[in-house]
C-alpha cells in the first residue's frame, strides 16, 4: 500500500487506495505525512548529532518576525501588519522547526506568540480568529482565567450568548473573584434573558 520514491526519499500511499477514503485511510495519511516530514528534516539538517536544541538560525528568524510585529503594535495604525508578522512567525515555528527539537520549548514559544496574536485579533475585530486561537491555547493546556475572559468577550461579540456564558462560568470557577469575568457574566445573563424573552 505504500510507494517509495528513491530520489526524494519520501513515501506515499498507493493510488488505488486513495480512491476510497475511510477512517483508516486518514490515520495512514497522517502517519505517512509525519514520516515524510521527519525524513525531509533529517536530509536538510546540518547537525549530525540531532540534539533537541532548537535551531539557532530559525530562532533568529522567528524572533525577528515577532519583534517586527511588536514594533508595529507600538504604532497604532500598523496593527494589521503586526498581526501578519506574528502570524508568519507562528507559521514558521510550526512548519519549519524540526520535529525532534524540544517540545517544551516549541510549546512555550507557540503559547507566547499566540497570546499576542489573540490580543491583536481582538483589537482588530477578528473575533472568529481569536476564538480559534484561544481554543488552541486551551487545547495546549493553558487553562487560565485570562483565556476564558477573552473567549467570553469574543463570543459575546459574535452574539453566541449561551456559549459565552458557559466559557465565563468556567473562567469564574477558576477565579471566582475576577472582576472582569463577573462583569462579563452579568452581561451574559442579561443578554440571555433578553434572548429568551
Amino acid at each position: 500500500t505504500i510507494d517509495y520514491n528513491a530520489n526524494s526519499k519520501l513515501i506515499s500511499i498507493a493510488k488505488d487506495l486513495a480512491a476510497e477514503p475511510s477512517a483508516d485511510y486518514e490515520s495512514l495519511e497522517i502517519n505517512v505525512n509525519q514520516i515524510n516530514r521527519l525524513t525531509k528534516g533529517l536530509i536538510e539538517t546540518t547537525n549530525p548529532n540531532f540534539t533537541p536544541e532548537p535551531n539557532a538560525e530559525l530562532s533568529k528568524v522567528i524572533k525577528g518576525l515577532f519583534d517586527t510585529g511588536m514594533k508595529n503594535i507600538a504604532q497604532q495604525k500598523k496593527l494589521p501588519e503586526a498581526l501578519k508578522n506574528i502570524s508568519l512567525a507562528i507559521d514558521t515555528s510550526t512548519t519549519k522547526r524540526y520535529p525532534w527539537e524540544a517540545f517544551a520549548i516549541q510549546l512555550q514559544e507557540l503559547q507566547f506568540m499566540l497570546r499576542q496574536k489573540v490580543d491583536l485579533e481582538l483589537v482588530t475585530l477578528k473575533y472568529l480568529d481569536a476564538i480559534q486561537d484561544l481554543d488552541m491555547l486551551l487545547n495546549t493546556g493553558m487553562i487560565h482565567a485570562d483565556v476564558f475572559l477573552r473567549k467570553t468577550d469574543a463570543l459575546l461579540r459574535l452574539k453566541q450568548w449561551e456559549l459565552a456564558r458557559i466559557e465565563c462560568e468556567r473562567g469564574l470557577s477558576l477565579d471566582p473573584k475576577n472582576p472582569k469575568l463577573n462583569a462579563l457574566m452579568l452581561q451574559c445573563v442579561t443578554l440571555l434573558a433578553e434572548y429568551n424573552g
Binding site: 462560568e169 469564574l172 434572548y195 429568551n196 424573552g197
Partner: protein, 612 residues
C-alpha cells in the same frame, strides 16, 4: 418388568391435561392482568388540562391528539407494524393460543368424563364417607349413628326373604363395605391403612404404566415418535440455545450490537483534537451501525447517512416508498444507538461527543437541523422560508411569546387559525427548566466531608415558555430544602420513582411514539471531562405547564402570586465516586439536556465545598 401401555386411554389424557394447565393457567392470569391494568393511563398533564377546561368551559385539543393529528399516515402504518405499545391488547397471537389451549383442555375433560375405563378405575376407589352417606366433616357421633342405621338396613340377618340371590349377594357386599368404611374411620390400624393406601385393607394392587397411547409407541407411529424426540433433543434444542446464546453475546448491556459499540469506541479512541464535533459527524458515525447492516444487508453506510440527513432536513421522498420505510426503521433504531454512544462517550470522558450526541438526538426526534432556528422550527406549521427571511430577531420560543398572537402568526407565516392554535398549544407545552437551587448533599450531614458519598440535589421549576419570569426570591428557602425524615435519608432516590412519567413528546416526524427524557451529565470544570455515566431522568411532574401566567397579560407578578401553587421539581443525581479526600472547593459542571425538545436544557456550575 413389563410396562403396560395406555391401551384404554386412561392416563394419557391426564398427562396432557396437566401439561396444558401448567402452561395455560399462569399465562391466562398474566394476560388478564395485562388487559385490566391501567390502559395507558392518561398522563397527568392531560388530565389536569381536561379538569381546567371543564371548569372554564373550554374545549382545547389535548397534546396527544395533536401529535396524532400531525403524524403522517405512513408513519402511523409503520407504527402499527413495529410499535409494540400500539398493538391491540385483546386481539393478538398470544390470546389466540391461550383460547385454543383452553378449548383442548375442555375436550380432554369431556373425554375423561366420558371414558368408561377411567370411571371404572375411579369408582374402584374406596370412599368411606360416600359409603356411609355422610359428609366428610361428620363427627364421630354422626359416623356411629350412620353406621347403625345402615347396618340395620344391610345386615344379612335383617334382609327380607324374598330377595333374589343376586340381590342378596349385592346387599352382603354392601354390608361388608359399610363395615369396612366404619372401621376405616374408627379403628386405629385400619384408619392408618386408609390414610396411607386409600383402603383399609392395606395396599391395593397398583399399576405402573406409560401415559402414552399404544399406537404412538408401537406400530407405525413409533419411528415417527423416536424421530420427534431425537430431533427435539439433538437438533431443535441445541439450535434454540445456540441462537439465544449468540444473540445475548452480540448485544451489549445497553442494547446495541457489539460491532456498533466497538466502532463507536474505535472512533473515540482515534478522536483527534483537531476534529470539530458536529451533528453531521455523529450522523456519520451512526450510519456505520451494525444494526442497519443487519436490517438491510445490501445497503452501504453512505446510503444510511443520506437517509438520516434527509430525515433531519425533511426532504420529501415520495417517489421512493421503500426508501421511506427504510428511513423510518433506521431513524427509530437511532434511539438506542444514541443512548449507547452516549454511554461509550461518557466512558471515554469525552464531553464534546456526549453533548453532540444529545443534540443529534433532538435533531432526529424533531427532524430539524441543529442551528439557531431549531427552537422555532421544532414547532408545527411553521413556514420555514418565511420565518428565516423575516427580520425579527426571534430565535427562541420564549422570545416568541413576548409578542401578541397576530404578530406571532405573521412571523411564523401561519395563515390558518386552527393551525396557529395548535402551534401555540405545542409551544406553550414545551417544558422549560428553571434552576432554583443546586447543591452537593451528603444525607444526614450538614456539609460535604472528605471521602463522603454525596449526591447532587437540583431544584427546578418547570415552566412554559409562555410564563412570566418568576424570580428566585419568590420561593422561600424552606421550600427548597431536602426532606430530613428517616425514610428519605435511607434512600434519597426512592421518592423520585413516585413522580409521574414524563408524557409523550410532540414528535410527529419520529417513527415511534416516545416519551421525553432529560439526560444529566456531570463533568469537572477543571478539564471538562465527564465523571460518570449519564443519569437519565424519566419522571418529573409537569403540572406547572397548565398554569396560566401569560407574560403578555401580566405586567407585574402581583401580590397574589403564591409559590405554593407551583410544583418544585427535585432532580437527585447520584454520584459514582466519593468526594475527594482533601479539603477545598471543587467546581463541577452539570449539564441537563433534553432528548426531545430544543430550548429546555440546563447547564450550570456548582462547587463542592469539602470541609471537616
Amino acid at each position: 418388568l413389563n410396562y403396560d401401555y395406555d391401551e384404554q386411554g386412561e392416563t394419557w389424557p391426564f398427562f396432557l391435561l396437566t401439561l396444558l394447565l401448567v402452561l395455560l393457567i399462569p399465562s391466562t392470569l398474566i394476560q388478564f392482568w395485562r388487559i385490566i391494568k391501567n390502559n395507558d393511563s392518561e398522563d397527568e398533564v392531560t388530565r389536569k388540562y381536561k379538569e381546567i377546561n371543564k371548569k372554564a368551559g373550554r374545549d382545547v385539543v389535548p397534546l396527544e391528539e395533536l401529535n396524532e393529528l400531525y403524524t403522517d399516515d405512513k408513519i402511523k402504518k409503520f407504527r402499527k407494524k413495529f410499535d409494540h405499545s400500539s398493538k391491540s391488547k385483546i386481539l393478538n397471537l398470544r390470546n389466540l393460543l391461550i383460547i385454543i389451549g383452553w378449548v383442548i383442555v375442555s375436550v380432554l375433560v369431556q373425554r375423561i368424563s366420558n371414558n368408561d375405563a377411567i370411571k371404572e378405575a375411579a369408582s374402584g376407589m374406596f370412599d368411606p364417607y360416600e359409603l356411609l352417606g355422610i359428609s366428610t366433616s361428620a363427627s364421630e357421633r354422626d359416623i356411629k349413628s350412620a353406621y347403625r342405621k345402615l347396618s340395620v338396613k344391610f345386615h344379612p340377618d335383617k334382609l327380607s326373604k324374598d330377595l333374589s340371590e343376586k340381590e342378596r349377594t349385592t346387599m352382603e357386599e354392601m354390608y361388608v363395605q359399610i363395615t369396612k368404611a366404619y372401621e376405616a374411620l374408627t379403628d386405629e390400624a385400619m384408619r392408618e391403612n386408609f390414610l396411607k393406601y386409600g383402603h383399609p385393607d392395606g395396599p391395593q394392587s397398583t399399576t405402573h404404566g406409560i401415559a402414552l397411547p399404544q399406537f404412538l409407541v408401537e406400530g407405525a407411529a413409533s419411528p415417527l415418535l423416536v424421530f420427534a424426540y431425537v430431533s427435539l433433543l439433538a437438533l431443535i434444542l441445541p439450535y434454540i440455545v445456540s441462537k439465544w446464546w449468540s444473540r445475548t453475546q452480540s448485544y451489549t448491556k445497553k442494547g446495541i450490537h457489539v460491532n456498533t459499540a466497538s466502532y463507536f469506541a474505535d472512533r473515540l479512541v482515534n478522536y483527534k483534537p483537531s476534529e470539530v464535533v458536529t451533528t453531521n459527524l455523529i450522523i456519520n458515525w451512526l450510519s456505520h451501525a451494525e444494526e442497519f447492516q443487519i436490517f438491510f444487508p445490501n445497503k452501504t453506510p453512505a446510503y444510511f447517512e443520506k437517509l438520516l440527513l434527509n430525515h433531519i432536513n425533511r426532504v420529501p421522498m415520495d417517489e421512493n416508498p421503500t426508501d421511506v420505510l427504510i428511513k423510518y426503521r433506521i431513524v427509530a433504531k437511532c434511539h438506542s444507538l444514541l443512548y449507547g454512544l452516549l454511554d461509550i462517550a461518557s466512558g471515554f470522558r469525552n464531553t464534546d461527543i456526549a453533548l453532540a450526541a444529545l443534540d443529534t438526538f433532538k435533531c432526529l426526534v424533531q427532524a430539524v437541523p441543529h442551528n439557531q432556528y431549531s427552537q422555532i422550527l421544532q414547532l408545527p406549521n411553521v413556514n420555514k422560508e418565511h420565518f428565516i427571511d423575516s427580520t425579527e430577531d426571534v430565535y427562541t420560543v420564549g422570545k416568541l411569546f413576548t409578542f401578541e398572537d397576530n404578530k406571532i402568526q405573521k412571523m411564523l407565516g401561519i395563515e390558518d387559525k386552527d393551525q396557529f392554535e395548535h402551534t401555540m398549544k405545542v409551544a406553550s407545552n414545551i417544558p422549560v427548566l428553571k434552576l432554583l437551587k443546586a447543591d452537593f448533599i451528603v444525607p444526614g450531614e450538614k456539609h460535604v466531608t472528605p471521602s463522603a458519598m454525596a449526591y447532587i440535589s437540583v431544584k427546578v421549576l418547570v415552566r412554559s415558555p409562555k410564563h412570566k419570569f418568576i424570580p428566585l426570591k419568590k420561593f422561600p428557602d424552606e421550600t427548597l430544602q431536602e426532606p430530613t425524615d428517616f425514610d428519605f435519608l435511607k434512600d434519597p432516590f426512592a421518592s423520585m420513582n413516585e413522580k409521574p412519567l414524563l408524557p409523550y413528546s410532540f414528535a410527529p416526524f419520529f417513527p415511534s411514539s416516545r416519551r421525553n427524557a432529560w439526560c444529566c451529565l456531570v463533568a469537572l470544570q477543571k478539564d471538562l471531562k465527564i465523571l460518570q455515566s449519564p443519569f437519565i431522568l424519566e419522571r418529573l411532574s409537569l403540572t406547572n405547564l397548565t398554569k396560566d401566567l401569560d407574560k403578555r397579560v401580566l405586567k407585574e407578578l402581583g401580590d397574589d402570586f403564591d409559590p405554593k401553587d407551583w410544583e418544585i421539581g427535585s432532580i437527585r443525581i447520584p454520584l459514582a465516586q466519593a468526594a475527594p479526600p482533601e479539603k477545598g472547593d471543587f467546581p463541577f459542571r452539570i449539564i441537563i439536556k433534553s432528548t426531545d425538545y430544543f430550548g429546555c436544557d440546563l447547564d450550570f456550575t456548582i462547587f463542592m465545598h469539602v470541609s471537616d
